[in-house]
Symmetry: C2
Subunit: 231 residues, 2 copies
């Protein structure tokens, strides 16, 4: 028979999955706002961030009550504290999607991303949406094997981020400094979004295996090339 | 008579102050590496980040044991969980100082920051060092009033960050795209460093008053001007 503590943990887990879904939707709509110059989408992402923040606050309050009232130990304690950390990562992912939407809004009716590198941003967005969707399923399924797949997606994001810097720094760049500044920040937002999704996945691995690769969580596993200041 | 739990909390508090001091030193040396093109300083900051990470891991392990073995409630529980969060902010501040050092190393023997905006970076660095020093003293003294001062410093950092974007986007900018990319990322690193210091201060206020302004912690209290994509 299930006790109320288990029900509470399930509720927190469901809220984390909800946050993942909201972050995925925010990133998808922020990219549409950015690439299509869609101001309504941009505004909806910026306004919608408050809902992700609200759930994060609710999880923090809930986790706090669980710690204070149920005094969990061992695995249960690890689950509650890890949920707190996951919530902070997912909340930050919502912020980053909102940052992307704000750049789109700032440049509207113009577009912040020059046409030649639109496909590159579309690809970074696809990876970002894929990685946050996988993060959500790893949370729901406590699937450490699936969680490890996110490292591969993150490598793909890092590769695209390097490609972006090569474009910025190549003689082909003819879009001026303002556009370079926008693209530099946008690239960083997508890359950080993926980093936080990987952090969530690593916390799932930690829950399942008890092993948390903190160092891997710190910085990319390989340096960016010598022309790339992104890390 | 003091109990061992209080001694444990004091030890965690001392470790957080140590992290603040290390983050302050890292930022100071990273700026010297950046502005003076000092490769040894850059390497020492990059290598030294591991020590900040080690303390963060130690605090997490320690906090975990306190939660599991002492089962604190009320204020004691709040202190332990808040210490975990502060440690994550301070660890990230060390990462950001290392990012600045990596840009300095990447451009060595050249300098990443064009001479005309060196004073602007020197000023952002002064604010960053001041703000992290204040964060450390607020942790040590549990001083909510001092903690609130950091908001003012953060406003000063935001103002300098806006000034940096105005320089980047002005007709005066004659330093090319690569330099604009470097300066854009560097500005972001300094600004995020200050944001995390403010988050630490807000957690101190939360500990002292029980009131945590989560929304204020989310994003700047004022938008950057319309020419500024930095937020």
């Amino acid at each position: 028979m299930r006790d109320s503590f288990q029900d509470d943990l399930d509720q927190v887990g469901n809220q984390l999955v909800d946050m993942s879904n909201l972050a995925a939707s925010a990133m998808s709509r922020a990219t549409a706002a950015l690439l299509d110059g869609d101001i309504q989408q941009a505004e909806s992402v910026i306004a919608g961030d408050a809902e992700i923040d609200r759930i994060a606050q609710d999880i923090e309050d809930h986790a706090f009550n669980l710690l204070a009232l149920q005094q969990p130990v061992a695995t249960d304690l690890r689950i509650v504290v890890t949920a707190l950390h996951m919530s902070m990562d997912l909340e930050r992912m919502g912020d980053l999607a909102a940052h992307i939407a704000k750049v789109a809004r700032l440049r509207y009716p113009a577009k912040a991303v020059p046409d030649p590198i639109r496909p590159l941003f579309a690809e970074m967005a696809r990876i970002a949406e894929d990685i946050v969707a996988k993060a959500g399923t790893t949370i729901a399924a406590h699937d450490a094997d699936r969680a490890r797949e996110l490292e591969v997606d993150d490598d793909a994001m890092d590769a695209k981020h390097r490609e972006l810097f090569r474009e910025l720094l190549s003689d082909r760049w003819s879009h001026g400094v303002e556009s370079a500044v926008d693209v530099t920040l946008l690239g960083r937002y997508y890359e950080r979004f993926a980093d936080h999704a990987v952090a969530v996945a690593r916390r799932v691995i930690y829950l399942v295996t008890g092993e948390y690769d903190r160092l891997a969580n710190r910085s990319p596993r390989h340096d960016l090339p010598a022309t790339t200041p992104g890390e």
